[in-house]
Subunit: 387 residues, 2 copies
């Protein structure tokens, strides 16, 4: 087991109707709130009105239209400007991971004098950030329980994962009923994103009874509950367990003491959605089984055997490579069964920019340090196998 | 899934030689430290000298001889007095769960004007507490990652679990090498304590893929790693995984969203160690399988089936009650295999005060609200079956 330093100070307020505690929570932070949200789904489900009603005594400034794969320009820049101009005390992010990720970058930028890109690109380390409270409406990213976010900068095709200990949300409200109206497409993509968060940590040099069992339970929870949610979008227990499983995804608790893995699928997918603005979870689902096939070897096979036997119940007496191949097939088939498009061409990506993207990933994502190192050639091969 | 409100702000610094970070951590809290420890094992392993060397620039006041089942009088009272007299800034607890539990009561009492028992007995709610940093030398209680402690008051045979959100340690140092010298008896008792923490949460009305899998992995981790630690006390990975598994025991993360269970075995064991000052983990190991037999019924059998199949690998095609009985037998046999005395008479408890203890538990522990309600008669029966 490797040494580690772990702290997640965020308070999770989880369950049906917990929104009633919002006024009490917000009362700690001052009167001026920047309310951030996306294209308007929070209006359709009545959450926007509810928040405004509960916070009638506050000065609320609004930053709307934050898009999936949230953009530095205009969203982060607009938010930072609004915080500075209006002396905002706290950010209330209402939506999915993109809204919260964007809000984290705004929170850091609001208390920094220079160009916020200095922080996101790690040129400068943030010294402080505005407090963030969030209300989550999509089970996927785990941003509600970690200190990171992913920001895209269109003109340079950059999509950067930005982490800073100042960026843990103070409080995350998680009401599974807000996810009842999430579309089948987004439910499936959220599942794939969350499954990949676990896989990025599971496929590593280490093996322990506790972490492996925790992650295998997480993977099974996501698969079984996603199928239930697709069959009955208002299955409370399925939505709730999916939400909780996603929440643990990115703060490290699934794999405390495991070695670093480099999160290779995320590294590769960042290029796909930076160049083509595809749905992150779909990009991950497409890449994952191809990456698995690419890294399967004598060195890695035992990890795939454990995955196959414990997650998919594959017969442990079979040949090791046979189990591994079956496990990869089962992974592919699961994503296919929840109607995720499983080829890059299905999401509008062709051969034309593969080499350019592979070069970009190799240059920026550090995957030569991954559990199984990936160089430009490997990345291009995985992209081509995904076409 | 039930609603929940969860926050564990403690920072875990885990691994070999992490003690080097102690000066940096302590520099946040001021110059006056109350150093708390037990009978002196920290001197034998050189940790006492190391701490004094690392903190040579601090004013260190010492409260030693904190005993297992830590006592209100003298330990808590002495500690509170020392904090008040010397204007202590921070408590540094070095030892096992008893030292840390005692230090938590001291931390709250130090900032309270009245009798500290007011706080422990919940007559008064603490408004603040001194910050606590700990260095753990025994894998068992999980006190390093929760806000509670258990304090005994000899003259009234009270042993009270005291929790308050002010009492999360600020930082917990967890170096598995400090547990290399833990005796076989205490290693086994620590395992039984930690296993029971999980069982108290596992045996409940709810069932979820994530929590059940996490807890089953925790139980398997404790059993397999304890056997390794008993065979080779310096097996780093086994000690480390055991330490991490124990750490999650009592802060709720193993069972977020599960219903309350009442922690019945702990409620009953508190009387045993209050009346007879036995080793807590041994008392729990003795009671647990008898409690299981007592509550096995049509209502509870499926939970035992899941436990038996997933933790002990019992054949799932057998009759449900047969699986449950086998699972209870396996539990008993595991404790026996790690040389825990499995009868109350083995630890000096006879029939004479059983009814008195059962009455005390029924009056004070609220077990009529447990998952399977226990009344005085039930408690006495479980105690008698444990003789």
């Amino acid at each position: 087991m490797q040494n580690f330093d772990y702290q997640t100070p965020t308070r999770l307020i989880f369950g049906k109707d917990v929104i009633g505690q919002l006024p009490e929570v917000m009362s700690s932070y001052g009167k001026k709130i920047l309310l951030t949200y996306g294209a308007g789904s929070i209006k359709k489900i009545g959450l926007y009105d509810k928040v405004k009603e509960l916070l009638a005594d506050y000065d609320i400034y609004e930053l709307s239209d934050i898009m999936p794969n949230p953009k530095y320009d205009p969203s982060v820049l607009d938010g930072v400007r609004m915080c500075k101009e209006n002396d905002i005390d706290v950010i209330l992010a209402v939506g999915g991971g993109s809204v919260l990720d964007c809000s984290k970058a705004i929170a850091a930028g609001a208390l920094y004098d220079g160009d916020p890109w200095d922080l996101i690109s790690y040129k400068v380390q943030a010294k402080a950030a505005l407090p963030i409270v969030d209300i989550i409406t999509l089970a996927a990213t785990g941003s509600e329980y970690d200190s990171g976010g992913v920001i895209s900068r269109t003109e340079t095709n950059d999509k950067i994962g930005y982490m800073d200990p100042h960026l843990y949300p103070e409080v995350s409200f998680l009401d599974p009923t807000y996810t009842f109206t999430v579309s089948k497409k987004q439910t499936a993509a959220g599942c794939a994103d969350a499954m990949n968060h676990i896989m990025e940590q599971y496929f590593c040099e280490d093996s322990s009874i506790l972490n492996d069992g925790f992650m295998e339970a997480g993977l099974k929870s996501l698969m079984i509950n996603t199928v239930k949610c697709l069959e009955n979008p208002e299955d409370y227990n399925a939505r709730a367990e999916m939400m909780l499983t996603c929440t643990y995804g990115c703060n490290g608790i699934y794999a405390l003491g495991n070695s670093e893995t480099g999160w290779p699928c995320h590294g590769m997918e960042h290029a796909l959605s930076a160049y083509y603005d595809i749905t992150h979870g779909e990009g991950l689902a497409i890449i994952t089984p191809r990456w698995m096939k690419h890294i399967l070897s004598e060195r890695t096979v035992d990890r795939f055997v454990k995955y196959g036997v414990n997650v998919f119940g594959i017969d442990s007496t079979l040949d090791r490579f046979e189990i591994a191949e079956k496990a990869i097939d089962e992974t592919y088939k699961f994503f296919e069964s929840i109607n995720i498009p499983m080829h890059l061409r299905d999401v509008g990506i062709d051969e034309s920019r593969i080499d350019e993207m592979a070069h970009h990933v190799a240059l920026n994502e550090g995957l030569e340090e991954a559990w199984v190192p990936l160089f430009e050639k490997d990345i291009a091969e995985i992209f081509r196998a995904s076409l």
